[in-house]
Every structure is written in C-alpha cells, then in structure tokens.
C-alpha cells in the first residue's frame, strides 16, 4: 500500500502506481493538467514510466479564470 498527498489531501492506494495509472484512478485522463511530484515537474510524456512512491507529495493543476 502507498500513501500519497494529492493537492494537500491524504490518499491511500492498494498498490504502487505510475503517474498515468493515478491520473486514470482520479478520472483525469485526457484533461489538460500539469503535475508536480515533490516539488519537481513530471512531464506529461513521462507519466507512463514515472512510478510513485510512498509519501510522495503531488500537486495537480489546471488553468482557471484569473487576472
């Protein structure tokens, strides 16, 4: 089991995941998002191979209205 912090919220998953698998679990597949893992950008092209580890802190962002 791994514990992640995603956008500040604690989440637990039964198995180790790649970023792509996590995105799928979160129903964000195909959405225009960007992801930071422990302070570093994970390029979209690497979502399939980047394996998440217990304790990872993730930020997943989108563009919203703003000045």
């Amino acid at each position: 089991m791994i514990a992640l912090t995603i956008n500040g919220e604690p989440r637990r998953f039964d198995e180790a995941l790649t970023v792509a698998q996590l995105i799928e679990r979160l129903e964000l597949t195909g959405k225009r998002i960007a992801l930071e893992r422990n302070g570093h950008i994970v390029p979209r092209g690497l979502f399939g191979e980047e394996r998440l580890a217990d304790g990872d802190k993730l930020e997943i962002v989108v563009a919203v209205g703003g000045g």
Binding site: L28, R32, G39, V62, G65, G67
Partner: protein, 266 residues
C-alpha cells in the same frame, strides 16, 4: 496603428484582459471577444480531485489557438511559489514561455512584494521564461526588473481590484521615460477614461480584469475599454496641445466680424 511588441511578437490590440470574476465561462468568452484583446491572463490552481469530473474548462472558452495565454502567479506570496507555479504553467501549456509574474505582499492590499518579485524574475529569466512583471509604481524597481531581463514591466495604477484609477501619473511617466521594454499599466483601472489616461501617458498597453468583470454590463465595458485604449494611444501619438490657463487665442478668426447695427440691442 503600429502594433505592440512583446518578447518579439506583434499584437494589434494593446489591451490585455484577465479571465477572473465572471459569472460563467460564456460571459468570460463574450467579454474577451468584445474587448478585442489578443492576450488573456489565466491562473493556475489545484484541480478538483474526484469531484466534478466533467467540470467545464476555461481553455474551451479562451482557446490557446485563438489567444495568447498569459499564465499568472496571482495569489503567490513567495518567489519560490511563483516560480513553481509558472513551471507548472509551462508544462500545462506545452512549453509556453510568456508569463505574468506577480508576487504579493499581503492579502489585504494585494500590494506587490518587490523583493520576492525580483528574486523570482531572476530565476525565471535564467530558466528561459519571457517574464511580464507586475510591480509597484517605483521607477527604480521597474528599472531593476528590466535589467534583470523582464520583457515587459507592469506597474500598478492603484491597488488590484480597487478601480481607483491612476493615482500617480508622475511615477508612471518616469517609469515610461526610463524604460526600454514595454510598460503596461496593470491593476487599478476602473473605467474607460482611466485606460485612456494610461495610454495618453505613453504606456504601451493596459491590463485589467475587475474593471470589465465587475461592470454592470461586462460585455459593453469590454468594448468601451477597447475603444479607450485605442483612443488613448492615438492621442499619445498625436501629441496633445499644451495646457494653459488662459487661451488668448480663440479657435475662430478674429477678423471679418460683421458690424453691429446702430441703435439695436441684441
């Protein structure tokens, strides 16, 4: 009219518009269209996790194929947060380099923290970003941000969202006179005349959000702002007449006046 050049790219419109505070994305889209703008700012925020999976997306209302998106760091209070936010924005927008840096000092005034702003600007320029930077109307700071390598300097006219208009035209004038990069008034514009005044001072452009979004009719105000920015630019290029207290030079000829008729009162 000659275009505004930012980071090597020409823009016919000198009005930059934010996408915050609208009623919905449809109103956002219509206001942006009515403004004639080509550059729109967007914010970067955490996505909802596991709720509203089919939430509408801002980028459908303002598609990157139609507008130059300007991701901003509004809401960041440290250089580090601002830099991370713009790295995420660059990834989100497929390597997009043009960004708006804004590092705030406190949530009450939203006044910029210029020390953190300069630190963030240095890092971002080093990482290859084209940085348009929000700052105070301090001419020395504005010059330093230019020297750090920012591609446009964007001093406030008054506090963000205040609609108080241009409170210190003299500082803006000094910033404009000293700058070799475009100067864009960002924040504080309340109505069309404020935008015109900014442009008449010689600013290269005006960036606004609340003035349009918080108007009773945002679409109509967007159209008014488009015209005001154009009118102000043309007036600046035309060069205004000098101000003088007494004219002593009427606009109509002083000779060739008809004679008064004797004995008849008007």
């Amino acid at each position: 009219m000659e275009p505004m050049i930012i980071a090597g790219k020409a823009y016919a419109s000198r009005l930059l518009v934010g996408t915050g505070k609208y009623k919905d994305f449809d109103e956002t889209r219509r206001a942006i269209e009515a403004s004639g703008t080509q550059i729109v700012t967007v914010a970067i925020r955490r996505t909802n996790i596991g709720q509203n999976a089919n939430e509408p997306n801002l980028l459908d209302a303002v598609p990157p194929s139609k507008y130059t998106l300007l991701p901003n760091t509004a809401g960041c209070y440290s250089a580090d947060d601002a830099v991370r936010t713009l790295r995420l924005a660059r990834e989100l927008l497929d390597g997009h380099k043009l960004v708006k840096l804004e590092v705030l000092g406190d949530p009450h005034t939203l006044y910029p923290n210029v020390i953190e702003t300069i630190a963030a600007a240095k890092t971002l320029v080093k990482e290859g970003f084209d940085v348009m930077v929000y700052t105070s109307d301090d001419p020395i700071i504005a010059k330093q941000l230019e020297e750090v390598g920012c591609c446009a300097v964007m001093p406030l006219a008054s506090l963000i969202g205040s609609g108080m208009g241009i409170l210190n035209p003299w500082n803006l004038q000094i910033i404009i006179d000293n700058a070799k990069v475009p100067v864009i008034v960002d924040a504080g514009v309340g109505t069309a005349s404020d935008a015109a005044i900014a442009m008449e001072l010689g600013c290269d452009g005006v960036l606004m959000n609340t003035a349009i979004a918080a108007a009773k009719d945002p679409i109509l105000m967007a159209s008014a702002m488009d015209k005001a920015v154009q009118a102000g630019r043309e007036a600046f290029l035309a060069g205004r007449m000098p101000k003088k207290l007494y004219a002593a030079a009427p606009s109509s000829p002083t000779s060739g006046m008809i004679s008064p008729v004797k004995g008849k009162a008007a």
